[in-house]
Symmetry: D3
Subunit: 181 residues, 6 copies
Amino acid sequence: MFSFKVDEEVSIELLQQHHKEELYDLIDTNREHLRKWLLWVDKRKSAEDFEPIIPIWIRNYADNNGFDAGIRFNGKLVGMIGLHYIDWKNSTTSVGYFLSEEAQGQGIITRSVSSLLTYLFEQMNINRVEIQCAVNNVKSIAVPERLGFSKEGITRDGQWIYDHYEDLVTYSLLAKDWNNK
Amino acid sequence: MFSFKVDEEVSIELLQQHHKEELYDLIDTNREHLRKWLLWVDKRKSAEDFEPIIPIWIRNYADNNGFDAGIRFNGKLVGMIGLHYIDWKNSTTSVGYFLSEEAQGQGIITRSVSSLLTYLFEQMNINRVEIQCAVNNVKSIAVPERLGFSKEGITRDGQWIYDHYEDLVTYSLLAKDWNNK
Amino acid sequence: MFSFKVDEEVSIELLQQHHKEELYDLIDTNREHLRKWLLWVDKRKSAEDFEPIIPIWIRNYADNNGFDAGIRFNGKLVGMIGLHYIDWKNSTTSVGYFLSEEAQGQGIITRSVSSLLTYLFEQMNINRVEIQCAVNNVKSIAVPERLGFSKEGITRDGQWIYDHYEDLVTYSLLAKDWNNK
Amino acid sequence: MFSFKVDEEVSIELLQQHHKEELYDLIDTNREHLRKWLLWVDKRKSAEDFEPIIPIWIRNYADNNGFDAGIRFNGKLVGMIGLHYIDWKNSTTSVGYFLSEEAQGQGIITRSVSSLLTYLFEQMNINRVEIQCAVNNVKSIAVPERLGFSKEGITRDGQWIYDHYEDLVTYSLLAKDWNNK
Amino acid sequence: MFSFKVDEEVSIELLQQHHKEELYDLIDTNREHLRKWLLWVDKRKSAEDFEPIIPIWIRNYADNNGFDAGIRFNGKLVGMIGLHYIDWKNSTTSVGYFLSEEAQGQGIITRSVSSLLTYLFEQMNINRVEIQCAVNNVKSIAVPERLGFSKEGITRDGQWIYDHYEDLVTYSLLAKDWNNK
Amino acid sequence: MFSFKVDEEVSIELLQQHHKEELYDLIDTNREHLRKWLLWVDKRKSAEDFEPIIPIWIRNYADNNGFDAGIRFNGKLVGMIGLHYIDWKNSTTSVGYFLSEEAQGQGIITRSVSSLLTYLFEQMNINRVEIQCAVNNVKSIAVPERLGFSKEGITRDGQWIYDHYEDLVTYSLLAKDWNNK
């Protein structure tokens, strides 16, 4: 029902209970593609598994503490994007995202993050936006690189993926970077 | 951040903490106009008074139990609209709204409710949408009348307003009415 | 343990855990009779199913927000009666009830509601008492009719019963009606 | 609204919010008399102080964990009686009570406890009922003595009263004592 | 991780999740020995059964309301000791304990309780420490006897053990007893 | 009551309510020294301000999610140390600490962290331990440097301190680093 418009093709929508089949289809048809970087993929085995999670995504938004939302490309659900948290004491947030395999190569995530950045810096006065990716996740890394984020360092063994740890790389963009663009 | 687009001029937005001054201005400049029908108006005495309420509005949405949201007309906050609850056992909801004095006469509420009805009946499979207004609130009553709702009855002394009871009139539109349009 | 005395034959009792078998017997022997108008009947399949519900009935009473209680006729549990909620902002409540098949025809509900009305208007200063019944539930409707309630209107498709919607009729009695008796 | 009938003169009533003035009057006119044995007396300084406590008394009842209720003598509120807890694992409860000064000498507490015992042993299958009194509280001690309780021992410094500790004496009655009466 | 040192051989440790196998072994190898006096023994059927209980033991400590902790003898887990509650209004607490069969006869519990008493009276200003044992539990009773507690009385049928009630004996030590030692 | 022994001079103690004056003295006599790096210092204006915080520190421990505890040097409270959280999904934790001005220069923090590391890697099977310090906090940085942590990167504007942002530097030690020592 409620969406954040990125551009004529792309929008970000707060998903509701009646979207759960659509969401499950997205995950299920991209299982192999997504489980390389996301630990929760194996746990989602039916549309019903999303019933208790959808309210949590929106409750974070209610508490001014981030959100998880769907990405639509020409109306079709093709991925998700969100803010993992908003740390108001330090005015910092962290962006996460994933995209279906077939929707890749059209800049959908880059356009989405770019729009979010405008809102975060200009409407919400956030000072620091962070993106963390597995160091081997080349496509994910391309997003902050393209958007002018600074690479800050490597978190060794930062994330457990099924049977091994991945190192994470941290990128950030500060309000002052944004204003100097 | 997240909006429901009604048409080129009108949108319905889930308000966030950083909208609280804008929201307070709306109430404060329409105090006399609004307190005729709304009991809570006198209790909102500063922008800060909205801090604990804004999360409740969105948490209802998270729980699939309605919402309260702002109405924007060409970007300006001019009113609010919401679903007081969603009774899923009986597939029923109830719409409420108010508009600033200066924004009246342009069909903003009628257009907003009409768009909501489409979403409620077609995306969310609601069976019954109710609107209750004070029997003396002529402008409010005009909305369900214009949209083809049926008048069902009078709730005597249904609402306490500061120093007296108002009778309420109930209008409803059913899924079958909608489909027969 | 705690009862509201209606008259020499009838009393209303806050049911406790040790009444759950007695309560289950009442429901089980009236299953066909009750499921015509009550959606929850099919869900009560053993005395244990009442264990989590009994505390909710009394907690509403603790919170000054209504109650659900048993009706005893010469000591025997023959039905239930309650206030679905108390809306203190508008000083309104709504009465609900059901009776076993064999106890019908002795005015047990009418006498119970009548006693409750005295308490609600005279001790608790309630302004409006509502009774809603399915339009086809002739016996239920007879209660407010007999007690001088006003018929206010029809809620179309107001209640889902297993496989269809029922229209509801709303009756009300106001403090001023009561005082003018 | 809901009462436990002791006899023609005495009843025990679950107090509601609309009884708070009556309850405050009882405490306030017996302040000196009650504060000798009860620590909370000094904290009740207005009828409003009872608003948050009344729901707790009834919620214990909802949770099958005892109750606190008013004692009425010919309709007048003259004291309180309750079960501090019900320990279902060990089938044990503990009775507490107080009476206004002017209502003393008519066996009101003894009659009330006696009726409660019948209900506890015969309807609720409690095995052990305990009464603890300060060793110097002669009137309180007379109740379990009269009802055939056994004296079990002294809890040294068992209760803090404003500026000193009181020793407590424990009396008990078991189901087997009751049945052998 | 966190321990209370009794002496060179004995310490009391706040158990954590990674101790659950060690704890289960203790219970499982002493099942017959422990179930004579402890009702919960039969309910612990695997190390996982301790997962929800361990946090409760420490949360009581967080709330300044007692604790349950392991007893180590030369590093080996041989029993548990705790304060069932701390009643700050009356400055009273109650000590409980059990020991494995093979660790008995070395004064481990007596030394542990003695150290606790020093801390309770001297650091925490507790006025009254209570120990309750089944009247037939000779080894348990020896502990307060040896430490100079006073025997106060018998709680008839005070504890349900699987198929019968046990009488309990209460011992106490007051701050003034401690200071007069 | 419960402590983690570092060596003959140093121990880490779970603080309780009766330590609050001692804790307040530590903060109050080091106010200027501590507020350079800690945002909460200005908010602690009396011993009572610690009453609601002490339970939170221990409840984290109960939930297996880190802790905050006092550091004692020859019995005197000289600082605090803790784990901000334990992320069990990724087997990661983060250590934080502060020391009074006068206790500096004796390796108290380094010895404490070193002991904690042994427990974390060997008893709790943690994979990654992180330390974050402000880049200008030379004394804090010396701790991970001395203990062989790897420097991973800079979090620009990572922490708000009263009137400006500080950059943070992240150090880590992994289980494999520990085992290769």
